[in-house]
Symmetry: C2
Subunit: 159 residues, 2 copies
Amino acid sequence: METTAFLDLTLFNWESQVKRMTMTFDSFTDEELYLQVAPQRNRVIYILGHITAVHDMLLPLLGLGERMYPELDAYFITHPDDPEKELPAPAKLRACWKDVNATVLQHFRTLPPAAWLQKHTMVTQEEFEKEPHRNRYNVLLSRLTHISYHLGQLVLVNR
Amino acid sequence: METTAFLDLTLFNWESQVKRMTMTFDSFTDEELYLQVAPQRNRVIYILGHITAVHDMLLPLLGLGERMYPELDAYFITHPDDPEKELPAPAKLRACWKDVNATVLQHFRTLPPAAWLQKHTMVTQEEFEKEPHRNRYNVLLSRLTHISYHLGQLVLVNR
């Protein structure tokens, strides 16, 4: 049995889910991005900015590099969606989404398999010894399901 | 590097997501199960029956056994949700969901790691030689993201 078969398949699925999300965002016009996924719930543009920021955070979290767009957090992480508040422009957010994912994927492809089982940067060595599942691969799985969580919401938009 | 570390982590995540989904279904009263996740979209009870049928289908798809509740398909797989149509009772569906997942998990825990990389039953040997990623593990990842896809919808219910 090939040691990296499971990891390879997970990375293959990551790429598929990111592509599916990109196609979904691309299917919304700039105007449609301001629609809510359900009454009183997040707008599509909020989910676009939110998931971009979350994927950008993977860079420091997995020890792969610096944040690319930390300025997104004030809009999409630390504050809930507010239809009254002005957000970065659709074109800017669409570009950030693609840029962040291209960078993240490049790192994912070159990270050695054993490095996926090492601790991520938000856990101390002491905590990691007690809870060895708190590694990079576990973060990958968690962000993989995070994509589909929001994909499931985007299909509900009434347009 | 431990060969099964990636598989073990994925199974650990599967169990967590199933638990999270169970807690979510349990948080709805029987009456609330008839609420739609968004206007004109699936009711919670439809998602409950649907994901139960999908997990039940894992048994033959992964070559683990016979279907437990094939009668669910007529309601939750082959037909879209229709608020006019009578569905199996909440108590029955809640029990099926738990029953199916307990059985599936038991199989997952005893399946040897190498077996996860073998083809699933819906692909021919010839197709599998050309597309070796069509294995049991790939189905597991696909169903893992399927859970979160619907979890993302259930949090939108206005109750």
